[in-house]
């Protein structure tokens, strides 16, 4: 199979955005990867190896081979990401590629890994498509998705804001935005909310005033921002500027919801994030053993707590190493088989299942809210609710995920 490790070491490829708007997120992912490698090779305090329910990893690398890694820059562009992944596969002999912080890139690289015959462990990718219509036999996602955000948020929103609400959606005009909007609208409509409008905003937009202004008189009393990254920071800032937070509509307080949160972006949004509800894959303030162990080893090494992107990347690396060890083979097909249907715990998200049908992890989802009185620059979100996995689980043939086939695993040459 492709890049079968023959020497005393095995090479992993960490493909993250190092330039462009998501560079900070990429840098955090890279830190997590370096930490994971350190732990796999027996360095540091062992981190999550100590709390992971599977105990086959013993700090001697993977199958006795020392873990080495190469890094690359996706630039958050499909082409560049594929080029970078190609060089890892062709030049550096990487046996697994992981990383990324947007769905477009994840889907593109996943496709490449499928063709080249290596395993792809997705980083931060939230689109339903990654494990829906674009799923691939060689690709695996630990991160949650748009549907799960909707399913987790809906009950909390009902509890906080009632079930008689009129929602106005602003949606980034590309596939991730659409799938998330679809998921959230479906989940909230099921509560009895009305979706008064859904406006698509260009990716390149920086000033959202002309999209926010119409909200004022639309009769809506909730604004849902299906934006991520810089778009989210700007649209949220603009919404707050227009006084939406202080507004009363239909006798209720106007509310803003940001379905996908990340702490890094919350930091970019500053004061504006306070009191705003959203969902996240993981947060450092979780108090389970796994989370505490991860925060401790990451925080000790780097001086600040890890982001959810860092968490998912770290966990993915360990899961891969674990699967190889359990399969006792680097052959992608054996690894995939070991990952499929794998149930584990102790990684910070509670008991988790890597579902065989679509290679999606099912685990608890956090609903969080911007903290009113943060004690430090990292303490921006507070956990409102930990939605149990069962509540966000959907059947593999759910219409929002339909249209793709895993195909068969490709071990390459």
């Amino acid at each position: 199979f492709t890049n079968e490790p023959t020497g005393s070491s095995v090479t992993l490829g960490f493909n993250v955005p190092q330039t462009g708007p998501y560079a900070d997120e990429g840098a955090d992912e890279l830190r997590a990867y370096e930490l994971a490698v350190e732990h796999l090779n027996g360095g540091g305090d062992g981190g999550l190896l100590n709390t992971f329910s599977s105990k086959v990893l013993d700090g001697t690398g993977i199958l006795g081979k020392k873990v080495e890694y190469v890094t690359g820059d996706t630039q958050t562009k499909s082409d560049a990401a594929r080029a970078s992944a190609q060089s890892m596969i062709q030049k550096d002999g990487a046996i697994m590629i992981t990383g990324g912080s947007s769905s477009g890139v994840a889907v593109a690289v996943q496709g490449l890994c499928q063709e080249a015959g290596v395993i792809f462990m997705a980083g931060l990718t939230h689109s339903n498509d990654t494990t829906g219509k674009d799923k691939k036999a060689n690709g695996f996602r630990h991160f949650f998705n748009g549907y799960m955000s909707g399913a987790a948020l809906a009950p909390v929103l009902e509890q906080l804001y009632g079930n008689d609400r009129k929602a106005y959606h602003l949606t980034a005009d590309y596939t991730w935005g659409w799938t998330q909007q679809e998921s959230i609208a479906a989940a909230t409509e099921a509560l009895g909310w009305e979706t008064v409008n859904n406006v698509l905003t260009p990716l390149a937009a920086t000033d959202f005033s002309s999209y926010i202004a119409p909200v004022l008189n639309s009769g809506a009393d909730v604004l849902v921002l299906n934006h991520y990254g810089g778009n989210m920071v700007n649209s949220l800032t603009n919404a707050v500027q227009f006084g939406l937070r202080e507004k009363q509509v239909n006798g209720k307080n106007f509310e803003i919801v940001v379905p996908l949160f990340s702490r890094l972006m919350a930091r970019g949004a500053g004061e504006n994030i306070k009191g705003i509800v959203g969902s996240t894959n993981w947060h450092w303030s979780l108090q389970d053993e796994g989370s505490k162990a991860f925060v401790k080893s990451f925080g000790t090494k780097y001086g600040f707590p890890p982001s959810q992107a860092a968490h998912t990347c770290y966990v993915q690396t360990l899961l891969y190493a674990d699967a190889v060890t359990r399969a006792n083979s680097f052959n992608p097909c054996d690894v995939a088989a070991a990952l499929e249907g794998f149930e584990f715990d102790g990684m910070g998200n509670g008991p988790t299942l890597y579902r065989a049908e679509d290679h999606q992890c099912f685990k608890d989802v956090l609903v969080v809210r911007g903290k009113e009185n943060p004690t430090s620059e990292f303490d921006l979100l507070e956990i409102v609710e930990v939605t149990p996995a069962a509540q966000v689980t959907y059947p593999p043939d759910h219409p929002m995920f339909a249209g793709g086939q895993l195909g068969s695993c490709n071990p390459g040459a």
């Binding site: 560049a80 970078s84 477009g104 490449l112």
Partner: protein, 399 residues
Amino acid sequence: MFGLEKKDSLLLLIVAILTMCAPFILNPFPTDSGLAQFNAGYPDLMQRFVIFGIFAIGFNILFGLTGYLSFGHAAFLGVGSYSAVWMFKLLSMNIIPAIVLSVIIAGLFALVIGYVSLRRTGIYFSILTLAFAQMSFALAYSVLTPITNGETGLQLTLSDPRVLGVSATEDGSIPVTNLFGAEMRSAMDVAMGPWTFTFSVGYYVCAVAMLLAFYLSIRIFRSPFGMMLRAIKSNQTRMNYTGLNPRPYTLAAFVISGMYAGLAGGLMAAMDPLAGAERMQWTASGEVVLMTILGGAGTLIGPVLGAGLIKYFENIFSKINDNVLHGWFAFMPDGIEDFMVTLVHPFVGKGWHLTLGIMFMLVVIFLPGGLVEGGQRIGRMIRGRKARDAKSTATKPAE
């Protein structure tokens, strides 16, 4: 040779030898030495070198000869890629029909955009082409998603109809692009002592395409048509009063360079069957402009060099992380090692943009004619003083 003057034949020959031996030349360092990091001789990057070389050669036919600076050439590359991928999806995995279609479609696209944009000159022309390309990009990214698959890019799937082929291979995966059976992805590793060289079918297909493209561009440069284009750049008024209509010439140049871009796009899709909207964004158009100027606009070989250099930086420098740096400087005492790493760190890995920016500035400040001028200066230095007294005032036309 091939109807070329001696100097041009020599150039073509050198380029041919270089491209054919690229797997050796680009892998100068033994595989497990520290410097192996700088090797670029793996199929994907070599393919990129020649594909972007084709793109830049074509761009240079327009820009270098007529001086019309198109800021939307990436649109043609993107259109070419989309056409090729659709051909793979619908017709067959053979790359010939895909590439033919991408050249044709890109040419048609260029004809329409060029016809409209060439009504203006100078910066007004540049902005018109930019506007068309940005519109194509924006639409491809969102509204046209059914055709382009938007953000993710158009990919092959297991359910493609593919009338002259199979939707999926027996083992359940997507078939591979090929040239009458020779798979683009297949490659052969040859180990020679500490070196490993990779020969890939895809690369050689691209290399042959580039040589043909390069040969054609030499012919165009040296042809009456090429001279007309330079005349247009020099003085349109005289052109008009000499009984020549500049418009069809510029349009022809525009379409030809659009077709080159289409060829590059088609090849790109043939090597890696994915077509993304980003390929049409202004940054992509800007990149080919930078490649051409960096190498030397209006010179034959310059654009290829420029393309190679930028792609090399993008793919090699971005991969040098602190870990690698520590590896390099490991032989030094600890303190100095850390110091060296700190010193180099901002320029590599995630700082590769910085190095690229500095290099742009240095080249344009010290080598006004681009990399080609650098080569000429070195050549002159080697040939040395003996030629000095034999100098003539006649200025040679551009290489």
